[in-house]
């Protein structure tokens, strides 16, 4: 009798296990597109013997549900998400800068620079002409404005980067809080012996989202204590977070990111925060200083000739541009001397005191090719600025391609291990369906056996 009953039990357990496996498969299928989801498997083992009979075993039993994931791979994936996001943002920002200096599409400064110097050559053809003098005024004002616009726009890019950076912090803190909460729940559940796969999936998804903003290091101790750090400063630990804050104590009135009391600005090496810092502190300042230098040197060189030359009335000692003390902010400060902008006859075109010759105008016109600028000629100096911007953009674009390709590969490798395959799950469903059906048949057979026995008793 006990034999028949144990077959009954084993069939029942087998049906339960098949049902559980079906539930796992259906959960997998349902989560096929869920970010951070790792496919799960029902781990089963032969059930231990029950009786003292021959050692047939007593069927199957489910041990646990296991999520299939490669932690090392997930770490690399997270790092790559962070790097790819920063390269992408940086690249699109540099593309914006590039537009300001794209002489290929005629949105650069070559036109205004050459027109400015050529207007002096035209003046040299007819130094008495008011018309030619007005053209010099116009060309100079266009040049100054072209510098100002670009100086302002670059400066604005820094300001926007700074504001965006601050706006990220709130998101980052709220993500960190949710991660800390989940980490605590996971620890509690797992200490209690339950599986916390679904919470872990959620946490992975949140940490990946966080990594888009800021690169973090993840550490999970054997005791289940989960930590995130930025650089080497703890950010999430013991289910708590240290809030990211900012202050403007740094130079330039820009924001520095602080974790508690520690300034972590320099330890951030990936994510959007990093990209904004790079734009604000590294790339744009470099362009601004090169643009300032160019504006400053044009001002200085033109003034050097103009201030010792003579206007129509034989007056001398007048600057063409308002003189600048240094290159600092020169692109935003470059401005025509108001004496010149209100009275074109004050333009000093002559080298001789009579004020009638054209030599000064020719000399200023010749500044287009004179090797008196830091970078060679004024054109050389300008094109070195364009080269720097183009080259930076190319390099960041190369990094972006690299990170995007790597990220693509890592995502595929992760999916290869942890991703859900609908075909595979379908096969499993069929397999467990059959197992369920077979066990059900077994129960019917046992039932028939029992009926045979019962009918014997009745008779």
């Amino acid at each position: 009798m006990s034999g028949v009953a144990s077959i009954m039990n084993s069939a029942l357990r087998s049906m339960e296990t098949a049902t559980q496996a079906l539930a796992v498969a259906s959960n997998n299928i349902a989560n096929e597109g869920t970010p951070g989801y790792a496919r799960q498997r029902l781990i089963v083992q032969p059930a231990p013997n029950e009786g003292d009979m021959m050692l047939t075993g007593s069927g199957v039993e489910a041990v646990r549900i296991e999520a299939i994931r490669d932690l090392l791979l997930e770490n690399r994936l997270r790092d790559e998400i962070s790097s790819e996001t920063s390269s992408d943002l940086l690249h699109s920002k540099l593309r914006d800068v590039e537009i300001l200096f794209n002489d290929i599409a005629e949105t650069g400064m070559l036109g205004v620079i050459t027109e400015f110097f050529n207007s002096f050559h035209d003046l040299a053809l007819d130094p008495a002409s008011i018309n030619a003098r007005e053209q010099v005024q116009t060309a100079a004002e266009n040049l100054a404005q072209s510098f100002q616009t670009r100086g302002d726009q670059l400066r604005q890019m820094q300001t926007v980067a700074d504001k965006d950076l601050v706006s990220y912090l709130e998101n980052i803190n709220s993500l960190a809080k949710r991660i800390a909460g989940l980490a605590k729940d996971i620890q509690v559940q797992e200490v209690g012996g339950q599986n916390a796969n679904s919470l872990r999936n959620q946490r992975t998804a949140l940490v990946n989202e966080l990594s888009q903003y800021i690169g973090v290091n993840e550490l999970e101790g054997a005791d289940g204590n989960y930590r995130l750090s930025i650089g080497s400063t703890l950010f999430v630990f013991d289910g708590q977070t240290v809030p990211l804050t900012w202050d403007t104590s740094a130079t330039g009135g820009f924001v520095s990111v602080k974790l508690g009391s520690v300034d972590v600005s320099s330890t951030v090496t990936s994510g959007r925060v990093f990209a904004q810092q790079q734009i604000r502190d590294k790339f744009v300042p470099d362009y601004i200083s090169k643009l300032d230098q160019l504006a400053y040197e044009i001002t200085t060189e033109v003034n050097a000739i103009h201030s010792v030359s003579y206007d129509r009335s034989g007056n001398t000692g007048v600057n063409f541009f308002d003189p600048l003390a240094s290159a600092s902010s020169a692109a935003r400060l470059i401005k025509l001397n108001s004496a010149i902008s209100t009275d074109p006859t004050k333009i000093a075109a002559a080298k001789l005191v009579a004020g009638t010759d054209n030599q000064a105008a020719t000399d200023i016109g010749n500044l287009t090719h004179k090797q008196v600028f830091t970078g060679g000629s004024v054109i050389d100096q300008y094109r070195s600025l364009v080269f720097t911007i183009g080259n930076d953009t190319t390099n960041v674009g190369g990094e972006l391609d690299h990170h995007a390709a790597l990220l693509h590969q890592l995502r595929n490798r992760r999916d290869s291990i942890s991703g859900v395959s609908a075909d595979e799950e379908t096969m499993d469903i069929l397999r467990f369906q059959r197992a369920y059906q077979a066990s059900a048949s077994l129960i019917r057979i046992v039932d028939e056996l029992l009926q045979t026995i019962l009918s014997m008793v009745v008779r």
Binding site: E98, A105, T356, Y382, F387, I389, N391, V420, S421
Partner: protein, 292 residues
Amino acid sequence: MRVTESMAMRDFLRSVAGTQEKMLEAQNKVSTGRGILRPSDNPREVSDIIRLNADKIEVSQYARNVEFGRSRLEFTDTALASLQGMVERVRFLALSAIGSSIDSDSFSVEVEGLRDQIVGSANAAFQGRFIFGGSDGETPPFQKDAAGVVTYKGNSDVVKVQTGRASTLQTQIPGSELFGTGNDVFKSMTDLIAAMKSGVKSDIDAKLKPIVSAWEGLSLSRSRVGSLINVADSASQEMTALSLAREKNLVDLESADLTETLSEFQSYQSALQSTLAVGARISQLSLLDYLR
């Protein structure tokens, strides 16, 4: 390797997006006719393109300067020719006065008229500027006062325009050198007129010499202007050759190779078509289709 639907889908999307991006780039190249669209496409070449464009603009300014100088010199040549003709006439009249038996006073009237005409021609203006005033184009260079004395009011500046990085072109001859340095033709004519009026042939003969040297001075000025025009001509030819060469360099650097770009475009297009075809097939395949 274990392959899931999401991997196939991801690969598919990546190659579609990648190919579409390349197609857009090729399309932009074709529609703009440019092989490079922005500095980051090729920073080194863009830097070269900027230099070549700047050179081109510089050369076109020199060409404009040469053109302006040449027109002014040609105009100067015409003015000199007419001055020369008038001085020649004065010389002829002086010789006639010496050689004829007619009262020499009767020649003085025409010489007086010619003197005013010469003042007029020496005050010739090109595009509103007096050409013989040195660098001063606004003051009439030769002015006659109430007593009939003509004074040069211009200066002795030699006006030049830039025609290359290291070359200039003189575009006019100052009035002080017009009739030969230090030669006051108007005083000579006034003296001649006085001599004609006095009727003393030897006096007239004595006043003829400065007139002849004024004619020689003008002739020298004319040949200087002629050689300056030659300089301008050869400068402008050189510049045309130079800008053609530059233009060619620029076109070589800047332009899209249309055949290449179009064939690139076509290969992207067929790549996209096959990717789409295969992609559509992949997402159709499912075990579920074969069950039951």
